[in-house]
């Protein structure tokens, strides 16, 4: 075998290698995704990735959280195909609720996977050559940090830490839960009580069972661990924070009395304000995902029933097609609508993105009960859940009951399921969950507009007069301007520029309805600068026509510009197209 043959063989092997190499895509930054990270650890991972892939990643702080943490944004883009601002971009964030932690890992995983895949995985390389990405692993670093650092339940530390006087007594955050047994968790308190309505299960004393009517119990639940810190006779009535930063966005924002946690006004908190300013400055953002937990949902807006009109039929069809693919990619996840299937949300983040800015946006609620056993047991009963906790999590999500002396109640038992016991994806399943969600957002991203001149033809229309017909096609599902954006004047019009060279001039312009149409609907003004309020539809095209006066061999340049598509350009020579 000579060298040339060898080289050819090697080249063939290399060309085939991506599929062969799928089990291992070597990356420069090792990060394990079978565990969770604090925000400080996020920061060092992000810096390591940015240092390892400087040509692909720009790390930028959008501003500071209330407690002064940087809101890290990773701009992932392949500069050899243009700056990130020149391409349609997808916004991907997570963890606006501090306790919904795997949302952050999903974003970190996406940055990690996409950067190492570039140049090794052809599909993702092509994707990153066509589009740019804005990744924000946590919208709420303070809430995330507190969830790891302080005693919490799986549901607390949702808000940021702006003090809110929850019980309206003039004092702020003065009576939250307390870690009475010192285990670093907030669990439950039980009091032995002859008139109680609960008994401990004989087979499994970890379980408190409600007694039948007429039967006597022995225990009364006293809620979350805590004391009456402010001596007002109530316990845990004013915990830290209170603003729900997923209610602090401008579209359909409603006051705090309509929806607790709304904040003082839209963008009253520094985190949404900094994030919002960036998003407003980037009209190329075309798609968005904001990860939450839990419930296995692929959610779209609106957040309130009366906003359904913000999703006109043609936009809704795009949402439905992307979400349907999501249900295939993400087992046990369902495609749902926020107000209809979850609850009413005013001033939510994806509502602002979708309804305020015309960005095709989803919010995934990560992790769902179906994933515990991954068979047809979508709603496992108590017995199975204890099996999972004992035999798969080895008891790590349960704190055994211990007796403590409570200042108000006397002797009470403290214990129960800890903050890792629900909502959070069990660590050994985290990587799969991150990967599937990443795969879904990459599919979503891959539906952003991609334009091409499909057919350009010149025909002689008379003495020194030429008829130029050009079709611009969008190969993807998402239109360059959605129907809602068009209706409400969100963003700017697309432009089709026809620039004649010296000696050529435009006599008329218009839109034929098809290639068979000999006539056209005329454009009376600025025939060289056609404005398209509706852009190019998803998986559709627009046909343009000009009548040009000029000699044979004269030249014109066609250029299509859109906020949400990469600019395309074509030089045309005035000679009959064969």
């Amino acid at each position: 075998m000579n060298r040339t043959v060898l080289r050819a063989l090697a080249a063939g092997l290399l060309a085939a290698s991506p599929s062969l190499a799928q089990p291992d895509i070597p990356g420069k930054v090792p990060i394990a995704f079978n565990r969770y990270y604090t925000y400080a650890e996020f920061e060092s991972h992000l810096k390591a990735i940015a240092a390892a892939y400087p040509e692909l990643v720009e790390l930028r702080s959008l501003g500071k959280s209330l407690e002064g943490r940087d809101l890290w944004l990773a701009i992932v883009n392949s500069p050899k195909t243009g700056p990130h601002t020149s391409k349609p971009a997808m916004w991907i964030d997570g963890n606006v609720h501090g306790n919904e932690i795997q949302a952050g890992e999903a974003v970190l995983y996406s940055i990690w996977y996409l950067t190492k895949a570039y140049g090794q995985v052809p599909d993702l390389t092509k994707l990153l050559d066509s589009y740019s990405f804005y990744f924000l692993p946590s919208q709420n670093p303070d809430g995330r940090e507190s969830w790891f650092r302080d005693p919490h339940t799986s549901s607390s530390s949702r808000s940021n830490l702006r003090p809110v006087d929850g019980d309206r007594d003039g004092l702020f955050d003065e009576d939250g839960p307390d870690d009475l047994d010192g285990d670093g968790q907030i669990t439950q308190m039980w009091k032995k009580d002859p008139s109680g309505r609960f008994l401990r299960d004989r087979a499994d004393p970890r379980v408190f069972v409600q007694v039948e009517p007429g039967q006597r119990g022995e225990w009364t639940p006293l809620g979350q661990e805590g004391i009456d810190n402010d001596g007002d006779g109530r316990i845990n009535e004013d915990p830290p924070g209170g603003d729900d930063m997923n209610r602090n966005w401008p579209s359909d924002w409603q006051a705090d009395y309509v929806q607790f946690g709304a904040g003082l006004y839209p963008f009253s908190n520094p985190e949404p304000r900094a994030i919002g300013q960036f998003i407003l400055s980037r009209p190329n953002i075309t798609a968005a995902q904001s990860y939450h937990n839990a419930g296995g949902m692929i959610l779209r807006g609106p957040g309130a029933s009366y906003r359904e009109s913000a999703y006109p039929g043609s936009d809704r069809a795009v949402y439905d097609q992307i979400a349907a693919k999501g249900e295939d990619i993400l087992p046990y996840y369902r495609s749902l609508v926020i107000y209809r299937d979850l609850y009413t949300v005013y001033g939510g983040f994806v509502n602002w993105c979708a309804e305020g800015l015309g960005i095709f946006s989803f919010t995934n609620e990560m992790w769902t009960a179906g994933k515990y056993f991954q068979r047809d047991i979508t709603n496992p009963d108590d017995k199975r859940m204890w099996l999972f906790r004992d035999r798969l999590q080895f008891g790590l999500t349960f704190k055994d009951y211990t007796e403590i002396e409570h200042p108000t109640y006397g002797k009470v038992l403290v214990g129960g399921l800890n903050k890792w016991s629900s909502r959070v994806t069990p660590a050994f399943l985290l990587e799969e969950e991150c990967h599937r969600n990443f795969a879904f957002t990459m599919y979503h991203a891959d539906q952003m507009p991609l334009l091409a001149f499909e057919r350009v033809e010149v025909a002689r229309a008379g003495e020194g007069l030429w008829r130029l017909t050009a079709e611009v096609r969008n190969q993807k599902l998402i239109p360059t301007r959605g129907a809602w954006a068009r209706e409400k004047g969100i963003g700017q019009h697309d432009l089709m520029l026809c620039t004649p060279a010296e000696g050529v001039s435009i006599s008329a312009a218009g839109y034929p309805s098809s290639w068979l149409d000999q006539r056209m609907s005329p454009v009376r003004h600025e025939p060289g600068r056609l404005q398209l309020a509706g852009g190019i539809p998803g998986q559709g095209s627009v046909i343009f026509r000009w009548f040009l006066a000029g000699p044979e061999g004269g030249k014109v340049t066609l250029r299509y510009e859109a906020e949400k598509a990469k600019t395309i350009e074509r030089d045309v020579v005035l000679e009959p197209t064969p």
């Binding site: 006087d165 309206r168 007594d169 003039g170 009456d228 001596g231 007002d232 006779g233 401008p250 579209s251 359909d252 924002w253 409603q254 006051a255 705090d256 009395y257 309509v258 003082l264 006004y265 839209p266 963008f267 919002g276 407003l280 309130a304 009366y306 005013y346 305020g356 409400k488 004047g489 969100i490 963003g491 700017q492 019009h493 432009l495 009376r524 003004h525 600025e526 404005q531 309020a533």
Partner: protein, 639 residues
């Protein structure tokens, strides 16, 4: 030098309603001069900076001097219930700042007594950039009073490229009427010239066989060659910039012209909101700006689609609002005025979110819109001390009744909206610009039984004639032929921008005393929660029952219905300073969301353990006002 300075201060002070009024951009100097003149009554705080770097100032008018009588020492100014006046959101409404300044002066000179018990905050101009632009004399007068942030109103990727122009060079941008527009001009005839009064352009009356023959548009050319006139820029149909009174979070008209990219997007609106949200003592807000919400009160009891936010006012606030309206009408005699637009407005936000009584007044209306009660005038014939102060309202001549253009029609014509209408310019549907209309219902409601008379061109023309007779310059530019470079022969004319919003300077003193009377009346209605009767009863050895009563002596309830609903304020809190283990019954913290006005009571009762002869301390903290600490001795002989 010092003497000279003093003299100039005095000179400025007396000119608060004088020469500078309505004509000069010297507000900042006037504010400082006034504060210097009344050091114990007026001080100022800068709460923010406008987009172009001008300070936004709040004047605090309250009596920081000692009381003249020997009553108890007054509470600190920040604990006195306060009235907030905000003017100058719209650069065209010059009268607002002048009346606000006059009000500060009048309160300081004539009403120092009540200012021991109440505070008045005055923001004389929230939009100093727009005021400066209106008054800088560097450009023709235009119908534009917004912030100057550039906006691509027609979304064509060119920003503010096609505003209006003063084509005929008369220093004023008015309107153009085009008779029988030719095909290809892009214009459509939709109006006729009134056969009885050629100054008036109106809709044709098909019943009379009239045929549309005139197209109307703002004075200007099609600068960008897109076939549309004045669709993106100052003075055109969609004016660019942000209307501060559409930029507040309440019912924010997302996507509407002038609403801004998000609520409180402007430095001016955000500075005011942040400052207001920190102030704990504001009980009412009066906004001086185009449009009224007092003479015709917003509808009571209607809710927004969210099911909680009021569209107008709460049912249970109507009684108080009726009283406020009565005070206002007694002070001003204004009988009708164009309703203020509510979505995104400051007065709407101040009511529905900030949760205090709030209203908007244009301050000045056409004389025929003022109705003094006839019988009263005859009874007191010349005896009233006010008679000399207040110029008699000229009786308007019987007005012809042509059909005036309403806002929608103007919008269709691609015209700037009627400036006396509170509705900001809506972009035209066809040529005028793309439609970015607000939600249905954004248009101001027509007052019950009212008509469009106040927006009626004929009435304004009649009033203009009166003013010309009185020696004032005319506020109407007669139609004159003009050869338009793109349209050929047109006529240019119409009302002078600002004419229908601002009175002649001579009317300012009357407007100031009207608003002072209203402000004093309003402050007299503020809630005043005080500690009433206290009782101690011995139940057994070391066991006591204790009562404390809070009484609201002011006419207004301690919190309005919206205040109770919104819970932005604290309730009236009666807090017992006894450890929980000694409390046998009752809450340590009692919350009273609202104590009715005019003597309404709120009783707190506790059973506590304690040594005979020992003292317990109880704090009574009203929602608005200073708190009181009561010390009670646990003894048989209770008071």
């Amino acid at each position: 030098m010092h003497k000279r300075l003093c003299r100039s201060v005095v000179a400025v002070a007396v000119s608060v309603c004088g020469a500078g009024a309505l004509a000069a951009d010297d507000l900042a100097a006037r504010v400082q001069a006034l504060a210097k003149q009344h050091p114990l009554l007026i001080d100022t705080t800068t709460i923010g900076t406008s987009r172009q770097g001008r300070p936004i100032v709040v004047m605090r008018v309250t009596n920081r001097g000692p009381r003249a009588d020997d009553g108890p020492p007054p509470p600190a100014p920040e604990h006195r219930p306060a009235l907030l006046i905000v003017a100058g959101l719209d650069g065209r409404h010059l009268v607002g700042a002048d009346v606000a300044m006059g009000l500060a002066e009048e309160l300081a000179t004539k009403h120092a007594g009540p200012l021991h018990r109440a505070t008045v905050y005055i923001v004389p101009c929230l939009n100093p950039d727009a005021r400066a632009w209106t008054l800088d004399g560097k450009h023709p007068k235009m119908d534009f009073g917004r912030g100057q942030s550039p906006i691509d109103a027609d979304r064509d990727r060119r920003t503010s490229e096609d505003g209006a122009e003063d084509l005929d060079g008369d220093g004023v941008v008015t309107l153009m009427r085009v008779r029988d527009p030719s095909p290809g001009s892009g214009l459509r005839a939709e109006f006729v010239i009134d056969p009885d009064n050629a100054a008036i352009v109106r809709r044709p009356d098909p019943a009379k066989g009239e045929r549309a023959s005139v197209a109307l548009l703002a004075e200007g050319i099609d600068n960008d060659g897109d076939g549309r006139f004045n669709e993106d820029g100052i003075g055109g149909s969609a004016g660019g910039g942000v209307d501060l009174d559409r930029n507040f979070p309440y019912r924010w008209p997302e996507f509407a012209d002038g609403a801004g990219p998000f609520p409180l997007s402007e430095p001016e609106t955000r500075a005011l909101a942040d400052w207001m949200l920190k102030a704990q003592n504001i009980a009412a807000v009066v906004v001086y700006g185009p449009g009224d919400s007092i003479v015709a009160l917003p509808e009571a009891g209607k809710l927004e689609p969210d099911g909680t936010t009021p569209t107008g006012i709460e049912n249970d606030d109507k009684t108080q609002y009726d009283e406020i309206a009565r005070l206002f009408k007694d002070a001003t005699h204004i009988a009708e005025a164009t309703p203020a637009d509510r979505p995104g407005s400051l007065h709407g936000w101040a009511y529905a979110h900030y949760a205090v009584y709030a209203m908007n007044t244009p301050l000045w209306v056409r004389p025929d819109q003022i109705k003094k009660p006839e019988p009263k005038r005859e009874e007191v014939k010349g005896d009233t001390p006010e008679a000399g102060d207040k110029p008699e309202a000229p009786v308007p001549p019987p007005a012809p009744k042509p059909i005036a253009l309403d806002d929608a029609e103007r919008a269709e014509a691609g015209l700037a909206s009627h400036e006396s209408e509170a509705q900001p310019p809506a972009p035209g549907g066809g040529r005028g610009g793309i439609r970015r209309g607000g939600p249905p219902g954004a248009a101001p409601p027509t007052p019950a039984g009212g008509d469009k008379k106040q927006g009626d061109d004929a009435n304004w023309l009649a009033y203009d004639q009166e003013r010309v007779k009185a020696g004032d310059p005319s506020g109407f530019v007669p139609w004159k032929p003009f050869n338009h470079p793109q349209l050929g022969p047109v006529e240019i004319g119409g009302f002078v921008p600002g004419f229908r919003l601002n009175p002649p300077a001579g009317e300012l003193p009357r407007l100031v005393s009207e608003q002072a009377a209203f402000a004093i009346g309003l402050m007299g209605r503020f809630p005043r929660v005080v500690v009433g009767e206290q009782r101690v009863e011995r139940l057994g050895p070391g066991l006591w029952r204790v009562w404390v009563r809070a009484v609201n002596e002011g006419p207004m309830p301690s919190l309005s219905a919206i205040g109770v609903k919104a819970r932005r304020h604290l309730p009236t809190i009666v807090r017992l300073d006894v450890p929980m283990e000694r409390v046998i019954s009752g809450d340590r913290v009692n919350r009273f969301w609202s104590i009715p006005g005019s003597g309404g009571i709120a009783d707190s009762e506790w059973t506590i353990r304690g040594d005979a002869g020992s003292e317990v301390s109880i704090e009574v903290a009203p929602s608005i006002g200073a708190k009181t600490i009561v010390k009670l001795r646990l003894e048989e002989a209770a008071r």
